[in-house]
């Protein structure tokens, strides 16, 4: 199966920059008000892969939704190529989402009644492309993603990895400058997850699109140009982070649960992991402290 996007015709995505300027998102009001994202600033360059990590509830999805014009910030500005999309009127946003962004979701979110081909083509049709042209473009894209023999399959007949590739094709069909992905590998086994990561990297590097990924998946760090740590709605310094050698979770360095073994410091997410480490230290110690690159 050949999954290479290099030879997709006409793929020279327009370069664009996304700027997030002191963006805040508050949910609710009064006593129940939650500031999910607080004064966050960020700039994503064309062809750059940015990975946003952070504990559950830290505001990752909220931030991603604002980047994708799905949600309006309570304060601050989001600019796409200098255009302030966060201030746009509601009825301009669908077009922005349709043409400028490609979305990839954890649970694929394909339309169950449509075939792989139609799932991709319909998005082009929404953008005003004629049916036959849309189908042709979708077929080429899916074939390049190794799904040439799955074009007429319904989603229920596709494996998780195939579904995610259909979703990637759908995200790419309107030639967006930016790909936004929320946990794109969470529902896939590690081999398939790796393939998807490779694809995302190609999308950024060969096609010059910006890719913003929200994930807990440590392996995505390998393909990311930049890893950001979001906590309590704010970016924190990543140098203070370490990886639990047992479960692989990212933990903070001021964590209480740590031990020294053979002259090295090890940090754990919970006592359970520490106890497991004690039972077979030699098995885990090779995966030593990995201070995350800032």
């Amino acid at each position: 199966m050949k999954k290479d996007l290099a030879d997709v015709p006409g793929r020279l995505a327009p370069t664009s920059t996304l700027e997030v300027d002191h963006v805040t998102k508050r949910y609710g009001s009064g006593d129940t008000e939650v500031a999910a994202v607080r004064e966050v600033s960020l700039s994503v360059a064309a062809g750059e892969i940015v990975l946003i990590m952070g504990p559950s509830g830290s505001g990752k999805t909220t931030l991603l939704s604002m980047l994708g014009a799905l949600l309006k910030p309570s304060a601050g500005e989001i600019r796409l190529n200098g255009e302030v999309i966060s201030a746009m009127r509601e009825n301009h946003l669908p077009d922005i989402r349709l043409r400028k962004f490609g979305f990839i979701f954890q649970d694929f979110n394909l339309l169950s009644a449509l075939s792989a081909l139609e799932n991709v083509a319909i998005v082009a049709e929404l953008a005003g492309i004629k049916r036959s042209a849309a189908r042709k473009a979708a077929a080429i894209l899916l074939t390049n993603l190794g799904l040439g023999d799955r074009l007429n399959f319904l989603p229920e007949k596709l494996s998780g990895g195939e579904k995610q590739r259909v979703a990637i094709a759908r995200a790419l069909i309107n030639d967006p400058a930016l790909i936004l992905a929320d946990e794109p590998t969470a529902n896939l086994d590690s081999k398939i997850g790796h393939e998807i990561m490779r694809l995302l990297r190609q999308i950024a590097k060969k096609q010059g699109r910006s890719v913003v990924i929200v994930s807990h998946d440590q392996r995505i760090k390998d393909i990311a140009d930049r890893v950001l740590w979001l906590e309590d709605g704010q970016f924190k310094d990543m140098v203070t982070m370490a990886t639990d050698p047992v479960c692989g979770m990212t933990v903070e360095l001021d964590n209480e649960i740590k031990i020294e073994w053979e002259g090295q410091l090890f940090y754990f997410c919970a006592k359970g992991c520490r106890d497991e480490f004690f039972s077979h230290p030699e098995q885990f110690s090779s995966r030593s402290v990995q201070p995350v690159k800032g």
């Binding site: 939704s65 989402r97 043409r99 979701f105 979110n109 009644a113 449509l114 953008a127």
Partner: protein, 370 residues
């Protein structure tokens, strides 16, 4: 546009049971609407049948009598020659008619007796079998009523204590309320013990006559009420049909509502179940209008298919009812089918309202929540 259509079609086809259910619901509702309406027009046609087929364009009745079927009319003696003397009246055909209760082997059966002069007219306009009465002991009986009671030509029927022999069977004189039978006028006079009496005069007017002024002149005669046949038919309709038309119209409205609710409920649940998918479309950049179209096309497809099926079903059911119960006349107007499709359209539009609200209310950002 094509993308929306195919999504709507795929969504429908993916849920075959659901589609069948909504199509079936609409079909039944439309069928009921059509059959009830056609039944109403059939009933109307039956009620005015005698007036529609009798000769002439004007009717002279007793003073204050405005119906043929509603009241007993008795014209003043000697009026005949006075009426015929009125300018532009060509011919006056007398009939003596009245509701009577027949006793057909123990079953009471109301029927409308018409005494007429076979040489003049005002009798049966179409004979299914046999001939007109030649003597005072012969009668023409309604064919459908005869068949229902197993009566044939040559059988005897007792009317107000006297026996008459059936010599002819008439067509188009039936109604589930008022079947007609015909005697010689002299025989009817004998039965009603009023020799020489006349209930109504059916008038033909000379060509180019002004009906209004003719009526005016007729109404100047003492003790009579002259009116057009159409007016009288409308009065009969008011008297009988309106009793039934209100409940029938109510049933038609209920059928429409039920049809709308079936489609509405089916499309609503289908939409709610697919909320997430509509949310995905919205997040990806589909406008509300696009999603409305997808929902509306589904509702339209279900209701219009259902309406068409309902039209076919209605024709089938009507044929069946009329075969089993010939006293019921069910008359479809071609415009009824148009109405059925229009009501299907109306059902779809109403049915799509709530689902459209569901779709409109979806927040695109919800798509990232699980």
């Amino acid at each position: 546009m094509a993308g929306r259509m195919s999504l709507a079609r795929r969504n429908l086809l993916q849920e075959k049971t659901r589609m069948a259910l909504s199509v079936g619901g609409v079909a039944l509702a439309v069928m009921l609407t059509l059959v009830l309406n056609a039944f109403l027009s059939g009933m109307n046609r039956q009620i005015t049948s005698y007036l529609d087929h009798s000769p002439g364009s004007l009717v002279v009745a007793q003073e204050d009598v405005v119906n043929l079927l509603g009241a007993t009319s008795l014209l003043p003696g000697g009026i005949m020659s006075q009426v015929e003397a009125v300018r532009s009246v060509d011919e006056a055909i007398p009939i003596l008619s009245q509701f009577v209760i027949l006793d057909l082997h123990g079953k009471k059966q109301p029927a409308y007796m018409v005494g007429y002069d076979p040489d003049e007219g005002g009798g049966p306009w179409e004979l299914f079998a046999g001939r007109q009465p030649r003597t005072k002991r012969e009668m023409v009986f309604d064919q459908v009523l005869a068949e229902r009671h197993g009566l044939k030509i040559g059988d005897e029927v007792e009317v107000l204590g006297k026996d008459f022999t059936i010599v002819g069977l008439s067509d188009g004189t039936t109604s589930w309320m008022t079947s007609f039978f015909f005697l010689q006028k002299a025989a009817a006079e004998n039965l009603l013990l009023s020799p020489g009496s006349t209930s109504f005069l059916l008038l033909t007017t000379s060509e180019g006559a002004d009906l209004e002024s003719t009526l005016q002149r007729l109404n100047n005669l003492p003790g009579v009420n002259a009116l057009t046949k159409q007016e009288m038919a409308v009065n009969d309709l008011k008297l009988f049909a309106q009793v039934f038309s209100t409940p029938l119209k109510l049933m038609v409205s209920i059928a429409f509502l039920v049809g709308t609710m079936v489609v509405g409920l089916v499309i609503y649940t289908a939409t709610v179940e697919r909320q997430r998918e509509y949310g995905v479309l919205k997040a990806i950049g589909a406008r509300n209008g696009v999603l409305y179209q997808v929902v509306l096309v589904q509702a339209l497809a279900a209701s219009l298919t259902g309406s068409l099926a309902g039209v076919l079903l209605a024709y089938g059911v009507a044929q069946w009812i009329m075969a089993v119960r010939p006293q019921f006349l069910i008359v479809f107007d071609p415009s009824d089918a148009v109405w059925a499709l229009l009501s299907g359209l109306g059902m779809a539009l109403l049915a799509a309202l709530f689902p459209a609200r569901v779709v409109a209310g979806l927040a695109p950002a919800e798509i990232f929540r699980r």
